[in-house]
């Protein structure tokens, strides 16, 4: 087993061009703007951020659906960002979409939905296909398989649809699963079921998972590490326990304070929330992108220069000038 990371993302920038009348260049939307991280083999990493922070653009770039402007994505030692034929890559990466109903073709039966990836990737033998379809259904607890095989997506509940999406994403035995808000459209009682299913697959089959979510409360039991994104950048990455117990970046702190637990005292107090809204990604503020809202802003520093990622307490990286004195910058992050 190789010890190199399974997925390596270096200086990734995915920008969308803004045009007027279809051709006049108006600027760029810097949706992903200089992102570095690794995912180890079999590791579950959560990418957390609010809408518009660039997390979906990041996912699409990782899947090879969008071409980055700059930067690289390496998968198992091969570079994917600029590769022209990505079939080898797609058979090793599974994608779990946010909206299960939208992700499943409505006129395909469960059998056909699961057969498609096998057929595309050259599994010719009928018997092998059949047994792999059954295995996949059993792995996501859609049992007995006979009962589900002839059904259409609309005949399944939301939770069952999402489990079918997971089955489709894992049927080729991928090394990486990219799950984009896999439970945000599901009810509370079903949510845990799908998350535990993903966690089980990750641990049993040693599949790495990139779990994208806006909801920090779901990461605790289902991931090893968390990346927090704000306005196109990763502001903090840390092991999940450390991040939840002791958030370092002021944005992470604000995010954690804003999330309520079901406590009857909540109704009697106001929650501290930083003023303002995330900045425009077309003209982001100079310096740290959080500085206009940051309670700990250092005038003359935070508004001037973009903070590099500082190494804090060994495994953690925080892009914030507050940690400048504590540690040396991570070399690769200084650009």
């Amino acid at each position: 087993m190789s010890t190199s990371p399974l997925l390596e993302v270096r200086g990734l920038c995915t920008w969308y061009e803004l045009r007027r009348f279809g051709f006049l260049h108006q600027g760029w939307v810097r949706a992903v703007d200089g992102v570095d991280f690794e995912v180890a083999r079999g590791e579950a990493v959560a990418v957390v951020g609010e809408s518009g922070c660039g997390k979906s653009t990041l996912v699409k770039t990782l899947l090879g659906l969008l071409r980055p402007l700059r930067g690289e994505v390496w998968f198992d030692g091969r570079r994917i960002a600029t590769a022209t034929d990505l079939r080898w890559y797609r058979s090793r990466v599974g994608y779990v979409q946010q909206d299960p109903y939208g992700a499943l073709p409505p006129f395909f039966t469960v059998r056909r939905i699961l057969e498609e990836p096998l057929a595309v990737n050259g599994v010719r033998s009928r018997r092998e296909r059949e047994s792999r379809i059954r295995e996949a259904l059993e792995a996501v607890q859609l049992v007995p398989p006979e009962e589900f095989l002839p059904r259409f997506p609309h005949m399944l509940s939301g939770g069952q649809q999402q489990r079918l999406v997971v089955a489709r994403a894992t049927i080729l035995g991928p090394q990486l699963l990219v799950a984009d808000e896999p439970v945000s459209m599901l009810d509370a009682s079903v949510r845990v079921e799908v998350l535990q299913l993903l966690r089980g697959l990750q641990q049993r089959n040693r599949v790495a998972v990139v779990y994208v979510t806006h909801d920090l409360s779901t990461v605790r039991h289902f991931c090893e590490r968390v990346l927090v994104m704000y306005a196109g950048k990763v502001v903090e990455q840390a092991p999940v326990g450390d991040l939840l117990a002791d958030p370092k970046h002021p944005y992470t702190q604000a995010l954690l304070q804003a999330i309520p637990d079901p406590d009857p005292d909540n109704a009697r107090r106001l929650r501290p929330v930083p003023a303002g809204e995330p900045p425009s990604l077309v003209r982001p503020p100079s310096g740290c992108r959080f500085h206009p809202r940051c309670p700990a802003m250092i005038p003359g520093v935070c508004d001037g220069k973009d903070p590099p990622e500082f190494q804090v307490d060994g495994l953690r990286r925080v892009a914030c000038w507050l940690y400048d004195a504590h540690a040396a910058p991570v070399g690769s992050a200084q650009r």
């Binding site: 609010e50 809408s51 509940s157 939301g158 939770g159 009810d187 509370a188 009682s189 079903v190 949510r191 845990v192 079921e193 998350l195 535990q196 806006h214 909801d215 920090l216 409360s217 779901t218 605790r220 039991h221 939840l244 604000a254 995010l255 954690l256 304070q257 804003a258 999330i259 309520p260 637990d261 079901p262 406590d263 009857p264 909540n266 109704a267 106001l270 929650r271 929330v273 930083p274 809204e277």
Partner: protein, 324 residues
């Protein structure tokens, strides 16, 4: 504590090709003046239909609509539609519908939209008067006064949601129904908006009926929580009892399934799914998924006291009250 809204035996069925869907199936509910009641339930349990039934905002395919609704002692069901529209809807009872931020008219300026109820109900005589009231209403929900002249597309989602709330509050109703007011918003925007609602409650003394699927959101505003399952209320209790000690087996299972940020327990999934509202089971509707099911559960459960609240469950019959 005086009762502001009282609902008794409310039923609302919708006509479909497969037969009537019993979205709201015999609901009793009380909202005291100045208090906030959260109607908590998962998708398809009928919580939005309940809100519509209370406001008489009914679609065309209603198969059956019955029960009683009183607002401040006045019977709302027998009130003719034109009087309901003139005297009750928006004047004393308003709603912030689901995804209200996308319901604003894109070609009208914010100020003109918020002022519309003022003109329709003859509350203002001049444009200057209307503008002053609109600015005041916007300020209360934290929207800068100069947004009056902007169009909805110039505002972020959180700001548009605040505008919708300002519209619902502009005639100073006694009760505002909030249908999932924060569910489409980001974490920080959500917290911000809940702060606004909390402040409004104190400043204006308005009662809220909060419709939500999220236990944590309910805990942010609710004095009382009504838990719905398959068209019925299965538990009604003060939040201070419901949140730490839910009683009904469904309430407990839901509480155990909720993933929370700070609690150190592993969430437990709740297997199965709610029954079809086309043909709900004759007895307790949760019985099929219930770990405590016994033979009596095949008949409809009585509503009985449990601590400071009430539950519809056979486990609590015989006067047994099991608040841990």
């Amino acid at each position: 504590m005086t009762t502001l809204l009282r609902v008794e035996g409310l039923r609302l069925y919708f006509r479909t090709a497969a037969g009537p869907v019993r979205a709201v199936d015999g609901i009793d509910l009380e909202v005291a003046r100045g208090r906030t009641v959260a109607v908590l339930g998962e998708s398809g349990c009928g919580k939005t239909s309940l809100a519509r039934a209370v406001l008489r905002l009914l679609p065309r395919n209603v198969a059956h609509y019955s029960g009683r609704v009183w607002l401040d002692g006045q019977d709302l069901i027998d009130l003719p539609e034109d009087r309901f529209r003139r005297e009750v809807r928006w004047v004393r009872l308003s709603i912030v519908p689901q995804a209200a931020m996308n319901a604003l008219n894109p070609v009208l300026r914010i100020g003109d939209q918020v002022a519309e109820p003022l003109w329709l109900h003859g509350r203002v005589r001049s444009a200057a008067e209307a503008r002053a009231q609109v600015e005041d209403a916007l300020r209360r929900v934290g929207v800068p006064a100069d947004y009056v002249d902007r169009y909805p597309f110039e505002l972020s989602g959180g700001m548009r949601q605040r505008v919708a709330i300002a519209m619902a509050l502009i005639l100073r109703p006694d009760l505002v129904v909030l249908d999932e007011p924060t569910s489409a918003l980001d974490v920080l925007t959500q917290a911000n908006l809940l702060n606004v609602l909390k402040t409004l409650r104190h400043e204006l003394g308005t009662s809220f009926l909060l419709i939500t699927h999220d236990l944590a959101t309910a805990s942010e505003l609710a004095d009382d929580i009504a838990l719905m399952y398959a068209g019925q209320i299965v538990e009604f209790a003060p939040a201070r009892q419901f949140l730490p000690h839910p009683q009904h087996p469904y309430a407990r299972a839901l509480r155990a399934a909720v993933v929370s940020l700070r609690e150190d327990r592993t969430p437990q999934p709740l297997p199965g799914q709610p029954p079809s509202l086309l043909r709900p089971p004759p007895g307790c509707r949760f019985a099929d998924r219930c770990a405590f099911r016994f033979d009596r559960c095949s008949t409809p459960p009585p509503r009985v006291r449990a601590g400071e609240g009430e539950v519809s469950c056979w486990l609590f019959a015989e006067g047994g009250s099991r608040v841990d």
